[in-house]
């Protein structure tokens, strides 16, 4: 016959979905591109035209290189393909250069890189960096631990934001892999420690770092690279507050200062000007509550993830426990970190989505977190042209995940309790007010950042709630009776 035998239902669904998403992305090539576009163009240019020793010193553009070296090498590789599209984009002084060919190239490279993502998703069940993360998780779940460790080291060297979840990896691998056996009740068997495995793991990780950082250590540039990677001068919060604890902290501080002035407990002249709601990225002092330093956030983050780490050390629960810990580490760092970008929430959502299909409770938490975080990303796309697209896509995703999870967990009642449903439905009036009603009022001129503040505070509530629920679920989950025997 002319047609080959039809593919199995599941497989063909997956390919159809993958193709559909890619098609949509091709159509959206002309859509709004944020400053990230210029950031990457600049990095393409500087890796292409400058020698390696200059990469972390170059500062013509405000978007200096602040990802680890492996990502720089990745941009360098891409730049050779970029030559064929438009040579002009690779000239460093061409700031904000955005010819159609440039846009096309950037979007295409993203779409192609997504192929990695799709491959990773496929591997787990029978975007480029998440693909690597998922692949790494997949390998761990398939008990191919060396590969998993290697992929994670690669990832860490591509984007150091994954440092957030490194503790989970470290503890898990140490506990489950280097100690080859557990006792019958799941507790640690000290005698089963395997030095060989530790050494191999260590070698893999260290050699990856060596390949990535090597040239810069040889040039003696390590302090400069680190200072670019971890710019603590940037302020507690991003221009738009990520929906984490510090957003709530900021709003509480603001509320107290307003109340304090009203009840004459504070002198209005002594307070710093209300510039924290401004769109600038600088260091600020809080007015009423104590100011927060980078060290404080680090301590808070560590404290928040310590119980989870301890739990998987004490009673690891196989792959599922590892994933749960991963999510909590990511969320904890998001909640308490310094200068967190709201995009970072994606790091927590992706592993959570893997958990969601296996357990009802996780599915509920996943829905809460994913819808809230998607909504919190709305302010990133603020042009009128993108408005229908972001609303359509969000509705698409929400309905799809809700309907699929509902079908999956048909028996056993609703996935979300009434409080959660009310909260999520509350996003609709919030969107209407922030996007449609508020711009028409007088306050748009005097307090232009109020909608952003409202959005981030509202979402912060949802994210905090999900964090607490996840923690409770981790700490109270019963251990599996299966013995976790590692190869």
């Amino acid at each position: 016959t002319v047609m080959a035998a039809p593919m199995t239902n599941d497989q063909s669904w997956f390919y159809a979905l993958a193709l559909g998403v890619s098609f949509l992305k091709c159509l959206l090539i002309n859509a709004y591109h944020s400053t990230d576009f210029e950031v990457h163009r600049n990095w393409l240019a500087l890796t292409h035209s400058l020698p390696v020793s200059q990469w972390y010193y170059e500062a013509t553009s405000e978007w200096t290189l602040d990802y680890p070296p492996l990502f720089a090498w990745f941009e360098y590789g891409l730049s050779h393909i970029a030559c064929f599209f438009d040579k002009e984009m690779l000239v460093v002084p061409n700031l904000n250069y955005a010819s159609p060919a440039t846009v096309l190239f950037q979007r295409l490279s993203v779409i192609v890189a997504d192929v990695v993502f799709f491959y990773a998703v496929k591997e787990y069940y029978n975007g480029f960096l998440f693909g690597v993360l998922l692949l790494s998780i997949a390998r761990h779940c398939q008990n191919r631990h060396f590969e998993g460790a290697f992929l994670f080291s690669v990832l860490l060297n591509l984007k150091h934001i994954y440092l957030y979840i490194a503790p989970a990896y470290g503890i898990y691998l140490l506990r489950c892999f280097c100690f080859t056996q557990s006792n019958a009740d799941g507790s640690l068997q000290w005698r089963s420690f395997s030095v060989v495995r530790l050494v191999i793991l260590g070698t893999i990780v260290l050699s990856t770092f060596a390949v990535s950082f090597g040239p810069f250590i040889a040039l003696g540039q390590l302090p400069q690279v680190l200072s670019r990677l971890f710019p603590f001068k940037r302020g507690l919060c991003h221009a738009y507050w990520a929906p984490n604890i510090w957003a709530l902290y900021n709003i509480a501080d603001k509320a107290f200062s307003i109340l304090g002035v009203k009840f004459r407990l504070l002198d209005i002249n002594k307070l710093p000007k209300a510039s924290m709601t401004g769109g600038l990225v600088q260091e600020f002092q809080h007015s009423v509550l104590p100011s927060v330093s980078p060290l404080a956030t680090l301590v808070c983050t560590l404290l928040s993830i310590l119980p989870a780490l301890f739990k998987i050390w004490h009673r690891p629960n196989g792959a599922r426990g590892f994933l749960r810990c991963l999510v909590i580490c990511a969320l904890g760092s998001f909640m308490f970190g310094w200068h967190v970008h709201e995009k970072a929430i994606m790091m927590a959502i992706l592993p959570l989505s893997l958990l969601a299909v296996d357990s009802r409770k996780d599915a509920g938490i996943f829905l809460m977190l994913s819808v809230t975080s998607h909504y919190s990303l709305f302010p990133l796309l603020f042009t009128t042209q993108e408005l229908p697209i972001k609303i359509f896509l969000m509705l698409l995703f929400t309905i799809f995940s809700l309907a699929s999870l509902k079908t999956l967990f048909r028996k056993g009642g609703a996935l979300l309790n009434p409080l959660e449903v009310t909260y999520l439905l509350g996003l609709i009036p919030l969107e209407l007010i922030c996007e449609f009603v508020y711009p028409l009022t007088v306050w748009q001129k005097t307090f232009p950042f109020l909608p952003l503040m409202l959005t981030s505070v509202y979402c912060a509530l949802g994210v905090t709630y999900a964090f607490i629920r996840l923690y409770i679920s981790l700490l109270t989950c019963s251990d599996t009776t299966k013995k976790t025997k590692m190869q």
Binding site: M3, L19, F23, L24, L27, P388, F392
Partner: protein
């Protein structure tokens, strides 16, 4: 998954792809002095807002008919008027008389695209959903699949959201008309279709089947008694609707005449540009445009159109059921497209053959993506190729014909091969049209090839569908309406 969630996902996908296409360029973007269809629509808002009704269709100092004069029926004009009011609220510069000619800006583009989306959501999409829900056989999954395929139909998306037009209004209204007739609400159906007709005169292509179906139904109910009353009610509905739409133009006998003159420009010739119909293709071999006189051309086109419509219409008249009705719609529109006077290629609304037009508008990328996506989707969702056994393709008739000469033929296989071949030919033509330069002797080579290839396909389709309507008994499963 539940029905409602599947249907809403379909709608959202359709809406997303529509808006995504709208990011791209439109007809005549940045091309003075005439620009394109986008400017025509904007100009109509300007004209209808600033000038009194009796001047809309006339050539005056304020209204130069040579610069995109109104050539659609009054409902389009009223629609433009409503849009103009909104435009005036947002930015009066968009509809300034004379001064706003060739106005182009990012916000204006957003506004125009938004008007298309709005009418689409209001009229076309609900009609499609209801149609798939009530008139598609098969499981709910199949209904949803059909809805998705219709909603993602590249032709309509590209023309309305890319090139820029409001076809979704007239097609949507016509679809409401079909829905009405299907549900047995004849009056509602006639009303809807009359409105569609008053929006774009192109809907005349569908008018004969509507007429024959309703007339046949009334005759069946007995011309003395119930049938007669039904006929009277329908006629009254149609006449009143027409009167209401044309009311501002009925004061002066010159008005409706002028409007008709604008609607049916017989002065313009047998065809313009490259259309995939008989006359254009014939012109390649015999220069009929210059050989025959205007009157002979008119007569020839009228005669051939009638010839190809008559069998289908008569069959429908004798057997007025839904199945015949749908087939007659297809046959009638194909016949008109192939043989009538002054046909525009948009009348076929088939994406694959609109290549020259779309490339001109800078819409190549959306065209490729949507066509590929649509093709892939139809293949996957409707399992088109798997279901093409002989029975499904109703090739029984062909079999009888060819059994005599070629007994060993496996017809379904031939059809499959022919399908892939057509696909490859279309892809190759698309590719060469974009990337290769035509030889100097034949600068129009590629558009002509495209239109001839399409014409051959359409000719094949009209013969096939006519045969199906006239010969085969009705099947349990009904075919999807394609027009």
């Amino acid at each position: 998954m539940e029905n409602w969630s599947l249907f809403s996902l379909c709608v959202l996908l359709g809406l997303t792809s529509r808006w995504a296409v709208s990011f791209h360029s439109y007809s005549g973007a940045g091309k003075p002095p005439m620009f394109g269809d986008y400017e025509a629509q904007r100009h109509w808002q300007e004209v209808t807002y600033n000038l009194p009704v009796h001047e809309w269709y006339f050539n005056t100092t304020n209204n130069d008919l040579n610069y995109w004069g109104l050539d659609y029926p009054p409902l389009t004009a009223y629609h433009s008027l409503v849009c103009a009011y909104v435009a005036k609220l947002l930015n009066p510069e968009w509809v300034e008389l004379h001064a706003s000619r060739g106005y182009e800006s990012h916000s204006h583009k957003l506004f125009m695209r938004a008007t298309v989306l709005f009418t689409d959501i209001l009229i076309y999409i609900p009609a499609v959903l209801l149609y798939c829900f009530y008139f598609c056989d098969g499981s709910s999954k199949q209904k949803v699949a059909t809805a998705l395929c219709i909603l993602l139909y590249p032709g309509l998306i590209l023309i309305d959201y890319g090139h820029f037009q409001y076809n979704s209004v007239s097609l949507g209204l016509a679809l409401w008309g079909i829905l009405g007739l299907g549900l047995g609400w004849d009056l509602f159906g006639s009303l809807a279709f009359t409105l569609a007709l008053n929006y774009k005169q192109m809907e005349l292509y569908h008018s004969l089947p509507f007429f024959c179906y309703l007339l046949g139904k009334c005759i069946k109910q007995g011309l003395i008694g119930r049938g007669f009353f039904q006929l009277a009610k329908i006629s009254l509905t149609v006449l009143v609707t027409f009167a209401l739409c044309w009311m501002p133009f009925l004061s002066d006998p010159k008005q409706p005449l002028q409007v008709l003159h604008r609607l049916f420009p017989f002065g313009r010739g047998l065809f313009e540009d490259k259309v995939a119909n008989t006359w254009c293709s014939l012109n390649v071999l015999i220069k009929i445009k210059t050989l025959l006189s205007r009157e002979t051309q008119l007569f020839l086109s009228f005669a051939l159109t009638l010839l190809f419509i008559l069998p289908s219409s008569l069959k429908l008249l004798s057997k007025p059921n839904l199945w015949q009705f749908k087939l007659a719609l297809v046959n009638s529109s194909l016949a008109f497209f192939l043989f009538s006077f002054q046909v525009h290629e948009k009348s076929i609304l088939l994406a694959a053959f609109m290549l020259p037009l779309l490339v001109k508008d800078g819409l190549l990328l959306p065209y490729v993506v949507t066509s590929l996506a649509f093709l892939f989707l139809s293949l996957y969702l409707l399992s088109a190729l798997e279901r093409s056994t002989e029975e499904e393709l109703r090739l029984g008739l062909y079999r009888k014909l060819t059994r005599h000469w070629l007994p060993k033929l496996n017809l379904s296989r031939i059809i499959k091969w022919k399908f892939w071949f057509s696909l490859v030919a279309m892809a190759a033509l698309s590719f060469t049209s974009v990337w290769l330069e035509p030889p100097a002797k034949f600068p129009d080579l590629f558009p002509v090839l495209v239109s001839i290839l399409s014409f051959l396909h359409f000719l094949g389709f009209i013969i096939y569908f006519n045969l199906v309507q006239l010969m085969e008994p009705q099947r349990k499963k009904s075919q999807k309406k394609t027009n």
